[in-house]
Symmetry: C2
Subunit: 178 residues, 2 copies
DNA sequence: ACCGATATATATCGAACTGGAATATATTGG
DNA sequence: CCAATATATTCCAGTTCGATATATATCGGT
């Protein structure tokens, strides 16, 4: 699964520009489980166009730079199906936050609390993105499954952090009183 | 946060060889939130040694290839603390599984079920790793926090999948009966 | 007894990807 | 009226991945 497959998969749902794909990986539906940089998306789209997996339609826009709208072809759908025909690779989760927590002995307590609050804010921001997608009427079973999974996992993280922060605050308050 | 910092952080907990660091990122404590390849770990350790951030001790072993045990220096600890002095970057989560679920229209139902069962098995394997760490007596607050967070999030994923698989099976059974 | 698989241990390298800078313009907010 | 933000693409240096190579021990199966 490389960026090519990612773009192909996205374009099988709707036509889009490279910019829109990237934006949806940051915000929209995909924000909590997919990422790719412009430096990989644009070359992938160009190559897919050369191979006939997608078509390009250049749209002139007054003022703004021209945009290239990509759309998947039948050959592209066939290639996508072949890519999906293997079991998905194991999830990859990288968390500098958890790494920092594991090394908390090297840190003052207040910085640990700030990191935990940042983590909680990040998780909540992702939950907000999902809530927005729901409001904007993404009610097909596929989207609902993905959003439901995201909500379940993100909410569990928020709950864990909230409980731990509460315990930490209670502790520091107790120590201050002594 | 690059592989250098990762190695430095690991070595601040215990001395180790490159092989052991990689193994712990795959299994041990770190399995569910950190990854790095040999191709990045070994060069990072060599460079850190050149810079005096770690020391190397070559241990001959009868039969097995010599191993190079790395240990952090005071300069290394100081550098690590500087690295930890910035807020951690946002978590990165990549899931081919969720991508596949979003494109489930391109897939037959049985393959979707297989993917879901694989995902559940993967999550359970991570939970097992954490349970093993606990049994082997990692009871310091830092480890407990990280393991607790992992358990909370992984369990939420398992529960969501279990419920959805049950609903899916009930549905297909109903359709078969009609 | 022997073979294959797995585990220990390190090194190397091309391909892939990231993250940031560069470019150009319109709109929005203070 | 200026700064910031948004649209839209391109390029590149540096980082990392994933696979391969090398060498040996051990364990299980036949």
């Amino acid at each position: 699964m490389n960026v090519r497959d990612l773009c192909l998969g996205y374009l099988s749902l709707r036509e889009a520009t490279g910019y829109e794909i990237k934006k949806d990986f940051e915000e929209g539906m995909f924000c909590h489980f997919m990422e790719a940089s412009y430096g990989s998306i644009y070359p992938a789209l160009s190559q897919l166009a050369l191979e006939g997996m997608v078509t390009v339609r250049e749209e002139e826009q007054s003022g703004k730079p021209d945009k290239k709208v990509y759309a998947i072809t039948d050959a592209g759908v066939a290639m996508l199906k072949r890519s999906l025909n293997v079991l998905p690779a194991r999830d990859k989760y990288k968390s500098e936050f958890l790494f920092m927590m594991l090394l908390q002995n090297h840190l003052p307590v207040h910085q640990r609390i700030i990191a935990m609050e940042k983590q909680m804010a990040d998780l909540k921001a992702d939950l907000m993105s999902i809530a927005e997608c729901k409001q904007q009427g993404m009610t097909d079973p596929a989207s609902e499954f993905v959003m439901g999974y995201g909500e379940a996992v993100l909410t569990a993280g928020v709950t864990f952090l909230k409980d731990n922060l509460a315990a930490l605050h209670a502790n520091t308050a107790k120590q201050a009183a002594e």
